[in-house]
Amino acid sequence: MTLDAAWARRWAAQAAATVAAAKDDLTELDRQIGDGDHGHNLDRGFRAVVAKLDATPAAADETVGAVLKLVATTLMSTVGGAAGPLYGTAFLRAAKVTDREELDAPAVVALLEAAVEGITARGHATTGEKTMVDAWQPAAEAAAGADGATTLAVLEAAAAAADAGATATIPLVATKGRASYLGERSAGHEDPGARSTALLLAAAVAAAEEP
């Protein structure tokens, strides 16, 4: 298992498959406290990502960053809504710190931290506001905390933390994004962006576990 450009491509493909499968569930979450488009938007974006990667043959010395940059720009130009620029920026910042052919454990931590910084720089949210930050931030922290573990273990810790973080958004009252307009009524529902974040990181793990 190496986290190289091929892994990054598998990650994108896995993410596309996962999002396609979860599309209706994500949209239903967004219907409860948003405008019911999150699953659909992400699905459109990741289908475009797969098409773009298919059309872009891997160079022999392709870096992880090169793949992530392609993911970033494609999401930016196809997802729209709040999630488009946020995920776009996350992957763009992640691409900047992964301009190498293979990632080790510290590089995975750097990738996640760059993603979080990108999202918070664009969206100005912090944890507890019932957004995707509530999945990305614990993911980055868990990765950093999984000191000395294998790269796979670091990635797994991040994915597990993102999953727990998404679940933990349920009782929160949203103060950012569309759900904030609902005030107290936003409590009791999981944030769609936090859930999709958990799915994306789980896809990263699955891609790492592939032969």
Partner: protein
Amino acid sequence: MKKLLDDPENAVDDSLTGFAAAHADLVEVHGLHGAGPVFVSRAGGAVAGKVGLVSGGGSGHEPLHAGFVGAGMLDAAVPGAVFTSPTPDQITPAIQAADGGAGVLAIVKNYTGDVLNFETAVELAEAEDVQVATVLVNDDVAVEDSLYTAGRRGVAGTVMVEKIAGAAAARGDDLAGVQAVAERVVANVRSMGVALAACTVPHVGKPSFDLGEGEIEIGIGIHGEPGRQRIAMTSASEITRLLLEPVADDLHVASGERVLLFVNGMGGTPQSELYVVYGRARALLEERGVTVARSLVGNYVTSLEMQGASITLLRLDDELEQLWDAPVHTAAMHW
């Protein structure tokens, strides 16, 4: 769900195809059916020397924004997927298409998605040497403008901003001037809406939110999101009061002042009901000693076939009144 559509996935493109054909004298629609990023620009291109006006947002609010492209109003509009902000690769070429050399004002409704996508697009346009100013519309008093929200949303008041800024650009104001007028409209316009029944996004196939037969949502946005408060169905007079009073209070509109009263339909409510609300709202304003000097009643900022309405007040002065009255020739507004 029964809709006059073919493939729901192509609803926006199919609709724009018809729109482009029906209004070829007014607009040009770019990028349809996979040809590239989709945006709408004025037929004949940017007007040299005039400040360009661009707006955009999710589709499903027609005639906003494409219906307002034309002389005296917008130079370009950028429709996203249904209820989804458009992407920077659509917005940037729209900004470029609107530039007649005097710079472009981007009119952005305050939603996280719209703001973020326009931010990126403006950066990219500036990199292409277009001078761009942005005005954020946030007229919805249903949302508290506090640390605990994403700020007030831009709703029906957007029409007033687009019309009046459009008139300022048409009379030859420079970019700073047009921006200042637009900001003056933003500062003086407030809205609030109600839904009697939710709408259904074509590719979702079920209503945007669940609403019981005896319930209504007060303080809805225009993106198919639920409102601020759910109450039992009541009379038009009472609903009008629940919308008008917060709007008038928030605007601090005082006796002796003149306003534009705009009753906007959400798409599925018949015009006859909008006029009932208009009549009630006007009576409430007259009780406050406020003069309704200008009026607009109709479906201008919709949420697909949502049943409901919103009330918008714009505090007028001589200049805003003149700019409102100035000629406009677009698909949805023409005088």
